[in-house]
Amino acid sequence: MQTKFEHFAATSLMGGSEHPPRQNGELMFDREWEERAFSIAISLSKKGYYEWESFRQQLIYSIAEWESAHCKDDSSYDSSWDYYQRWLLALERIVLGSSIISSEELEAKTNEFISREQQATSNS
């Protein structure tokens, strides 16, 4: 059987703490940036910048970090949990770690987008 990399990548995350949210079987994205972050992670691995397993380990680590900082009995436990925030953190780390982009570049570009966004809001 032939397996597309996209299919392999998404389904290899099932069965552990790192599985992405699904709605009636389909991947569920609440916000536009989530699906873009999802797709960027897959695209870079598909192109060979890192092994998918390395991303998966990074994601597991980012999730574990959040879990160790939050107590299950906490009333905010469920409401402050955000799968794709952890995904984005794992993606940033693996991208910066593999020297594709430097953290200075990423900071500068992020600030550029934020100020552009703020200008657009104040102009409207």
């Binding site: 059987m1 032939q2 397996t3 597309k4 996209e6 299919h7 392999f8 998404a10 389904t11 290899s12 099932m14 069965g15 599985h19 949210p21 699904r22 709605q23 009636n24 079987g25 389909e26 991947l27 569920m28 994205f29 609440d30 916000r31 536009e32 940036w33 699906e35 873009r36 972050a37 797709s39 960027i40 897959i42 695209s43 870079l44 598909k46 192109k47 910048y49 794709y84 925030q85 984005l88 993606l91 940033e92 991208v95 594709i100 982009i101 570049e105 990423l106 570009k109 992020t110 600030n111 550029e112 987008f113 934020i114 966004e117």
Partner: protein, 206 residues
């Protein structure tokens, strides 16, 4: 893919800007193309093509006599359909259907090998062949279904059907409410392989 909530705060605009910055830098450096991200997303959105199983289910929903024949002798009922040769199952293989009802939900799995009713459902998805998925579905079907975004009511009985070389199971899902006026073809368009594996319900999206 579904979008359910609206978030609007500073952390959100930061995350959105961060992802846009990542994508923009990767494109600037020629690491990914400007279309790459959309192409990956398209794959997940359009992966489901039309398939024979959907036609069987739709026919069973609109034709009670066909449904009775399908449940009684699946292979013979499939042979009635105008499918390409070989679609009724290769030699020595029998297919069988289990029906979902209000109180009973069926899931198919194969713990020994990957016996999958491919003539009806197409090629099996990667996870179906994954040993963890198979083992966990048998051991804790409710937990697995919940991960698929398909939690079951406490009162619903779950039956797990283990395919073998002799019998390959698939699920006849429940017809969604509000579809009484739909034609067989319209119904078929909404039936996914996941629904016929028992890991999702059939949904008619507005």
């Amino acid at each position: 893919m579904s979008k359910r909530f609206y978030y609007g705060n500073e952390r959100e605009s930061y995350s959105a800007a961060r992802v846009r910055a990542l994508e923009a830098l990767l494109i600037e450096k020629g690491i990914i193309g400007s279309e790459t991200v959309d192409k990956v997303l398209d794959y997940f959105e359009t992966e489901m093509g039309p398939f024979n199983g959907a036609k069987l289910v739709a026919r069973a929903w609109v034709d009670p006599e066909f449904k009775a024949r399908l449940l009684a002798d699946t292979t013979a009922a499939i042979a009635e359909m105008d499918f390409p040769t070989g679609m009724a199952g290769a030699e020595g293989e029998n297919m069988a259907v289990v029906e979902n009802t209000e109180g009973v939900h069926n899931v198919i799995v194969c713990t020994l090998c990957s016996c999958y009713p491919w003539p009806v459902l197409g090629l099996p998805p990667y996870w179906f062949k994954d040993p963890t998925f198979r083992a966990r579905t048998v051991r804790e079907p409710r937990a697995v279904l919940k991960e698929f975004g398909f939690p079951l009511e406490e009162s619903t009985e779950v039956r797990v059907w283990d395919s073998s070389a002799q019998i390959r199971w698939f699920v006849l899902p429940e017809r969604p409410k509000g579809t009484e006026g739909m034609s067989e073809e319209e119904l078929a368009a909404h039936i996914t392989p996941e629904a016929m594996m028992g890991v999702a319900r059939v949904e008619v999206k507005a």
